[in-house]
């Protein structure tokens, strides 16, 4: 894994096609690229909204996410996140924002959603250091295919249905400890936990 990470990944060819398209939107307001992104990510985001209880607002969420992608595309930096990761964080934030706004007035929101949940690349001070950001999606995709289904199920519920570990335990009727150990095993494979030990 570490040998993979050490390889320079600067070559254009390493950039995945979606990241290249997102850059075109950011640099040239390329509407063809924007449309391609919509066709690829729109259905994913709509399902995401439906899975986490925003079914009656699913199309609204997709629209908000895409308007946000357009407005922010000039800030996108492929060295800081792959397009799919960047778009996931925007979808996540728009979902949180939508739920927050349903519950209260904007005057009550002293802290904005993006003060709490950042989009990769928003922080200019953050150095463009690690190539592992680029590698991480590829690595996760590969590792995920080796994970047992029961681990993937738990992670999917956390990310897609926005259930806490406790809620997942209740739903699957298994102890909380079992849920946590499945997640730990998975994160271990994905090297999130290994990173804990390198502190």
């Amino acid at each position: 894994m570490s040998t993979l990470e050490q390889k320079p990944a600067r070559a254009e060819g390493r950039k995945d096609p979606w990241s290249q398209m997102l850059e075109k939107v950011g640099k040239n307001q390329d509407r063809q690229a924007y449309h391609a992104l919509f066709e690829h990510f729109g259905p994913q985001i709509k399902y995401y909204a439906m899975a986490n209880g925003l079914a009656s607002h699913a199309e609204e969420l997709v629209q908000e996410v895409f308007v946000s992608i357009w407005r922010r595309s000039c800030l996108y930096d492929w060295r800081k996140a792959a397009a799919s990761t960047w778009i996931f964080t925007i979808a996540r934030n728009q979902r949180i924002d939508m739920l927050r706004k349903m519950k209260r007035t904007s005057a009550e929101m002293q802290v904005e959603t993006e003060d709490l949940w950042q989009i990769p690349g928003d922080n200019e001070d953050e150095p463009v250091t690690s190539l592992h950001r680029l590698m991480s999606e590829r690595r996760i995709r590969e590792s995920l295919s080796h994970l047992p289904e029961e681990q993937i199920t738990v992670i999917a519920k956390v990310y897609m249905e926005n259930k806490s570990h406790q809620m997942v335990a209740d739903e699957l009727d298994i102890p909380l400890g079992t849920v946590k150990s499945r997640v730990r095993l998975a994160l271990n494979k994905l090297k999130v936990i290994l990173q804990d030990q390198n502190v």
């Binding site: 357009w70 992670i155 897609m160």
Partner: protein, 213 residues
């Protein structure tokens, strides 16, 4: 550099967007000062992207794309107007202003002052509390009911588990009993999110954590 980090499961709940606002604030404040955890969250955000890709897809119509185009066409904000100025100010400053010392602290016991800021998070059931332990001061021994997440905003405190410096992140539960002491020459200020009221074990009745666990 901080030494005490959130665990991976908590960071995953954060990345998934499942944490409450006060809990997310604690994580955000830590991330702002911890490149190590930032890179863990980057990995977790990528996991989110891959999970989203693995799920079924729901059809979107071409007319929806037309509606999006008409929104961006009527957009008064130009593409490049979206800048990062909004994010310049830390969420802590937005909530509490520049000077933590000038807040309306309430003296509790000799060395401990507290300020309940729960009402800044409308609609959340958790109690959100700032605590200040005077430099060199000691807090009485205590335990907690439920779980308490704490981040050190200023100074440092020590207990039998170690020293907790600025931006260190610590989670305590009813198993933990301690007697924290503010170390260094600064008052130690912490932000804590409590999932349940503090258990009152000793003679001190209204005490809060992390100085009172």
């Amino acid at each position: 550099m901080t030494r005490h980090h959130p665990d991976s499961l908590t960071l995953m709940e954060y990345s998934a967007g499942n944490l409450t606002e006060p809990h997310a604030l604690c994580i955000r404040l830590h991330l702002d000062q911890c490149p190590h955890c930032c890179s863990r969250v980057d990995t977790l955000d990528s996991l989110g992207a891959v999970m989203m890709e693995h799920q079924p897809k729901a059809d979107v119509s071409e007319s929806m794309f037309d509606r999006i185009l008409s929104r961006i066409d009527s957009d008064v904000e130009k593409n490049d107007v979206v800048r990062r100025d909004v994010h310049r100010m830390s969420p802590l400053q937005k909530l509490l202003g520049e000077d933590l010392d000038s807040l309306p602290w309430k003296r509790q016991l000799g060395d401990v002052s507290v300020l309940d800021i729960s009402e800044r998070f409308p609609g959340q059931s958790e109690q959100v509390v700032l605590q200040k332990l005077a430099a060199g001061g000691k807090a009485p021994a205590h335990t907690h009911r439920g779980e308490e997440t704490t981040i050190v905003l200023q100074g440092a405190f020590a207990d039998q588990k170690g020293v907790f410096n600025q931006w260190d992140f610590v989670v305590l539960n009813d198993q933990d009993e301690h007697k924290p002491v503010a170390v260094g020459c600064e008052d130690c200020i912490t932000l804590s999110v409590l999932s349940a009221p503090v258990k009152l074990t000793g003679t001190f009745t209204r005490m809060l954590n992390p100085f009172i666990r």
